[in-house]
Amino acid sequence: VPAAPPAPLGCDDPESEAAAEVAVNYINDHSHHGYKFALNTIKDIHVVPQGPNNYIIFLELDLLETKCPILSPTPLANCTVRSFAEHAVEGDCDVKLKKLDGTVSVVASKCHSHADSSEDIRQICPDCPLLASLNNTEVLEAVSAALNDFNSKTTGPYLRLLEIGRGQIQYHPAHIVAVEFAVGATNCSAEEAKVNVGACQLLPEDQSNFGFCTGTMVKRPSQDLNVDCQLYGHQVSTQDIVLLSSQDTS
């Protein structure tokens, strides 16, 4: 008598959660841009028997972007999910897994992410900063100014921009551009870079040579610039530029 088909799994069953954890870790391990994602909801699960102790599992997952850059060594469990008011980003993923003799592994995954709608944010928080496109001129200007400012003051290696992770612009009560971007250490000191920046090459792709910066550029009512960068291998955080803002505030 053929084995009875397994009872359909519920989305909150421990077995479903275990499979979802394997899927989310796989998705984060195989992503090279942006931020880590955390599981928000298991939307659906289907298990298809293939033979004795051999199943194919189809998962439909809802993920939410965390504040941890994808290259950060921070464990996912310690990564804060970006709140609704910070203009959350959702990931919808379809994942195919195999469960063979109790071991679950990912066969394939397909995800696409999208930011929450600005209207939703506006309804809840009229003055919250909204996500801007990554090629927005104000975002590009703020990233360039922040990185130049950091490199002009750092005692560590000269940092090059790897990718812009996020840009948010607020207009009230002040006009502020907040940016987040990934950086890589080069083989130059900041001093050497002033002489011949073209000779500064990114160091080998080792996690300790990667880092992350956050910056805010206030454009109105006064002008101000704050930037903080940290390399994953060691903490290289500058002084908060506001402390030195006498040179930067106009």
Binding site: L9, G10, C11, A38, L39, N40, T41, I42, K43, A88
Partner: protein, 38 residues
């Protein structure tokens, strides 16, 4: 031929009424929302 309506009526009569206070189990999917829904 059995008319659909007859089958439906028959099924209705065969339906076992739930005991008083019966709470149907939550649908198996989608699962719980761990943070918030957007």
């Amino acid at each position: 031929p059995v008319r659909k309506r007859a089958v439906a009526e028959a099924a209705q009569h065969d339906k076992v009424p739930h005991p008083v206070g019966f709470v149907p189990p939550p649908p198996p999917c989608p699962g719980k929302i761990r943070y918030f829904d957007i």
